[in-house]
């Protein structure tokens, strides 16, 4: 499994699926009209763009912060699902969208494991990327 995930093809397919699902839920939210849904859809579109940039850009500064779109996508999607469960309304398209978002979170978690080895690996990478501005006691120690 790890070997399969480690291949370039798997990485490409996984990234493409994440972007497709993100754009799908963005499109659904933009199609619903109203300020809240429009902002939510634009947020997804922005995160899809960030994810693509993080995945393809060779720039060191972008690579250093490539954990951010993944973390933001998981958090944003989880908040969207939670908001829907609290506020509704519950109808077919809503449930389809939440299903897409649940799969999206799952795929991003798989991608995190593929890239960082584990969720803790992502946390370490995030701390390392911001280490220069962290107080000394919060800086990750070299292994």
């Amino acid at each position: 499994m790890t070997k399969l995930l480690g291949s370039r093809t798997a990485g490409f397919v996984l990234s493409a699926a994440i972007v497709a699902l993100t754009l799908a839920t963005a499109n659904i939210h933009l199609g619903l009209g109203g300020l809240l849904f429009t902002l939510n859809g634009l947020g997804y579109a922005g995160l899809a763009a960030l994810f693509v940039i993080g995945a393809v850009s060779p720039m060191p500064i972008v690579k250093r912060f490539s954990w951010f779109p993944r973390l933001a996508l998981i958090g944003y999607t989880a908040m969207t699902i939670a908001g829907y469960l609290v506020m509704g309304p519950y109808f077919t398209l809503g449930f389809i969208t939440k299903g897409i978002e649940a799969v999206l979170i799952g795929l991003v978690v798989v991608d995190v494991i593929r890239v960082y080895g584990s969720p803790m690996g992502l946390v370490r990478s995030a701390l390392t990327s911001v280490a220069p501005v962290l107080p000394a006691r919060f800086r990750p120690q070299p292994a």
């Binding site: 397919v13 199609g31 309304p89 109808f91």
Partner: protein, 126 residues
């Protein structure tokens, strides 16, 4: 192509198809002419904003959705939305007719569950 890649592609394809479709729950294209009252949703607003309905008996309300996004009609006792009396299914780009339980004479508040800014007044009377 390996099974996992096929699965991922299938999920992405399904998601895109769902996003591009105009699905909503329980659409029932009907003829609004047969309904007791008709409300049109256009440009994110109900027309008319005030609807007169018969009191004391079940009545039918046709919602003609001319917007591209889904709408429905939800009826409350008042603007506080604290007591919901009825919530209809969503309809996208079409017409749905709701059968609404009898209301006592008086004024009621209605909105679209998806777009709380879309509101109107239902006046039940003789």
């Amino acid at each position: 192509m390996k099974p996992i890649r096929l699965s991922l592609l299938a999920v992405a394809l399904a998601a895109v198809m769902a996003a591009c479709g105009s699905t909503s729950g329980g659409e029932t294209p009907t003829d609004p002419a047969t309904a007791d009252v008709t409300v049109t949703s256009v440009d994110m607003a109900f027309d008319p904003g005030t609807v007169n309905v018969p009191a004391g008996r079940t009545f039918t309300l046709a919602l003609v959705n001319q917007d591209s996004m889904p709408h429905n009609v939800a009826i409350y006792t008042d603007e506080s939305r604290s007591e919901k009396l009825f919530e209809g299914e969503m309809v996208t780009d079409g017409t749905i007719t709701y059968e609404i339980p009898a209301l006592d004479a008086g004024e009621y508040f209605f909105d679209c569950s998806l777009h709380p800014d879309m509101t109107g007044t239902l006046v039940a009377g003789d």
